[in-house]
Symmetry: D3
Subunit: 78 residues, 6 copies
């Protein structure tokens, strides 16, 4: 019976969303039980101008820099 709301950046195709909704529904029925008919998945697209992480909008240069530094650190770790 669960209701799932997925907040994500725009850009996924309808085909991708269909796969995600189907796979998540299978996970919920297999692990959590409940009737398939009442399992609802909602996608809510939020643009990079409306989404901030660590105080910076995802659309900002400051955020890109944060992500670049993060990837560098991760790569350096091997």
């Amino acid at each position: 019976m669960p209701i799932v709301r997925i907040e994500l950046l725009p850009g996924r195709s309808t085909e991708t969303k269909a796969k995600i909704a189907s796979a998540i529904t299978e996970v919920l029925i297999k692990e959590g039980g409940g009737s398939r008919e009442h399992c609802i998945v909602l996608f809510e697209e939020t643009t990079p101008d409306n989404w901030a992480i660590g105080g910076n909008l995802v659309s900002s240069p400051a955020f890109a820099e944060t992500m670049r530094a993060y990837k560098e650190r991760t790569a350096a770790k091997g």
Copy 2:
């Protein structure tokens, strides 16, 4: 004082939404008490491409088939 969020498919007119918001506010004041001034109703429109039931997007042929079968069964019941 309640805050009501209504997630629905697009297509209702502003007039329809005005009626829904007004009627729901009356229900909440009559049954639940509280001040009218702080009763808030928000509509959030979600397209059929972003809404899945039973693992199928509402915009998909598979969903239409599910609904057709459901109506048939209901009609057969009388």
Copy 3:
């Protein structure tokens, strides 16, 4: 098909919630159309310690004062 989420202060009985859910479902079917079977109403209770209006928690003396002043002004208007 709408999904309705109602955020409210605790204290309503199950009987009251049942009446609210039923009445709101009727409103949505009558005004907005759609199948009754997929109309969902969720109640989410939020305590006065977790709810602020105008910058004051509903549980605070400052909020009580705001409401008292508001009612006075409204009564004075007739």
Copy 4:
């Protein structure tokens, strides 16, 4: 980067939730891309007294009857 909120009835163990969160995260990374680190899954438990489908609280006898009739119809279909 998605944020997933799952509204469900109480009763799933922490182990079950861990499996659901892990599996959903894999689905989102595989199908939708994005960094694992920013994939968030939130569970929100809502009791049967706070959840209505078709105008009846899930905790009500009327809802149990609806579900029984639904299963009968489905079984009759084979």
Copy 5:
């Protein structure tokens, strides 16, 4: 680690949203603790046609009248 969702009328510039996200993140780290990296702020714009207060859509003449009366009362109080 908090996730903040801000529902507001459209019309704020990206620059304004950037300032709001940054300031709110500072408030949450200063007062509530937790890591900046996992602090998320989401803006969700809701049009006046989809937002009702006191049973009237914000886009309706009735709402404008309510607000005018409210401001008059407040001004009269001095």
Copy 6:
């Protein structure tokens, strides 16, 4: 007029929440405009058993390890 919902781990005192609600309301009025009276802040506490990041529940040993490694990398960066 904004409605702010803050999802956070339990453990903040009412005093802390009062400060957060007040400070966020000031930010929203200063930067975004709008009437103080209709600015609403809601806190929703979600336990570490109901919150996953990167596929691991915040209550799990795997998550603690992720955070430890992350802090080490950050410290190593200077």
